[in-house]
Amino acid sequence: MIQELRSQFPILQRYVHGGKPLVYLDNAATTQKPQSVIDAISNFYTTSNANAHRGGHALGAEATALYEGARSTVAEFLHAQHDSIVFTRGATESLNLLAVSIERTYGARLAGKSIVVSEMEHHANIVPWQLLCERTGADLRVIRVTDDGSLDMEHALEHIDESCAVVSIVHMSNVLGTINDVQTVCARAKELGAIAIVDGSQYVVHHDVNVAEIGCDAYVFSGHKLYAPFGIGVLCGRYEFLAELEPYQTGGAMIDRVSFEKTTYGEPPVRFEAGTPNIEGAIGLGAAIKWLSGLDRDAIRTKEHSLAKNLVEGLESDSRVRILGKRHALNGIVSLVVDGIHAHDLGVLMDEQGVAVRTGHHCAMPLMQRFGVGSTLRASLAAYSSREDVDAFLHAFSKSCRMLG
């Protein structure tokens, strides 16, 4: 089964550094793309390419149907309605859109209010809110992370109080693998009338999502981490929430009418899709989700768990290794530091052996600071990860440690 799956990813047959088989364990940064996604892109450009929504002609109608079909596929994937799905460039743009549109909609009323994020957020879920706070006089509050890499839920529920205007929390940490109880966080936020946002960039890769059950106002993720092309992402908003929001970018398609005296806007989702959208990217994302739904996701999750377990156990045989948030690493994202060895050195030597992992701060500097480290080495799994990948990783890891003394 795993061989059949892997054979759908042409890049996994590659060799790097003159003859070393590629072992790709940098999936939390971006996943590889199955042939069906690559084909969906080629087919679109070969047969139906046109601008969507604008054309009265046959190709335009086909492109529009494909683009809106992709929106329906994403909506089903999240158990949301079609018009709740806004296409963006990625999670970063989705979060920027939310921060700016919330600022434009609620403006001065945000002064003195608080915006709540956590210590384990990706920079994309920190900096847009920092800037919103600077501009509006709101206060950025940070939920603590416990020593074992969990969200401090007591601290969270304390922090989300009457003053709170927005809570924006990651569903699955891109560094620790921690899966947060976003349902409880959102319930608390909604109880107090705050806007609840969930960053699902890593979670959607491994799990099914039901936005209604989560109870959030908005759920965001990137296509390229979900086996889909670059340049496409999703902001899934509760329709009534979106309907109240001011637009973000402005220009073609999202307007109702324009004159130099007055401009009025369309309804969601087009209100938030100014200009020509990434039609190809949306179609590619639709193809990726269709591909995913043909898999047995439970079985894959179980396999990912067991591979992560192998990884963690293998690493622990070296007493200098410290895995950040070890309890959560089994979710498929393993971040570690080695006493006396710089993660960067390890990454370089592992790369020489064909093993692609990420080293650095993973766009989560505050979390690095929380754990008192400058950078970590991160191995992250995807559906096509195999036992051989894990073995190669462990082999390269111990060899690199030996070389670095």
């Binding site: 710089h342 790369d351 070389m403």
Partner: protein, 139 residues
């Protein structure tokens, strides 16, 4: 002469049979680097654009530039040491007149992986900038 030193290093690296030996040699070079003065381990002397931290501190004495340099990662420190072999204790003119394609001259892209070259480029840019600044100092 700079070009001569580069040639020597290139020969040494070429002679090494595989990547392990080459990285071993680089790491060893790093370990031989002179102690970096703690008082200069500041933001001001950091080289931007490297994946790990790199410090570079220049002193001009009698027309010659003396560099102190360091990194917190071993391999980068090795590359820093390599750069020091080439550029330390040279005159500004020597540095400025040397070719700036060190990575190519050393075939570093074949020896190490291409992405190592990025950090190196940042360091070289910094070294040349210091040399340029000192070349403008009136004698």
């Amino acid at each position: 002469m700079i070009s001569q030193t580069i040639e020597e290093i290139a020969k040494t690296l070429d002679a090494l049979p595989d990547w392990e030996e080459r990285y071993g040699a680089i790491i060893a070079m790093g370990k031989g680097l002179a102690q970096y003065p703690e008082e200069h381990r500041t933001e001001q002397f950091k080289v931007k654009g490297c994946q790990s931290q790199v410090w570079l501190h220049p002193t001009l004495r009698n027309g010659t530039i003396y560099f102190d340099a360091d990194s917190d990662a071993l391999i980068v420190k090795g590359l820093v040491a390599l750069l020091m072999k080439v550029y330390n204790e040279r005159t500004p003119a020597e540095i400025l007149n040397s070719k700036d394609d060190l990575a190519q001259q050393l075939s570093l892209e074949q020896h190490l992986s291409p992405n190592r070259a990025n950090g190196l480029a940042s360091m070289m840019k910094q070294i040349r900038l210091y040399a340029l600044a000192y070349s403008l100092v009136k004698a």
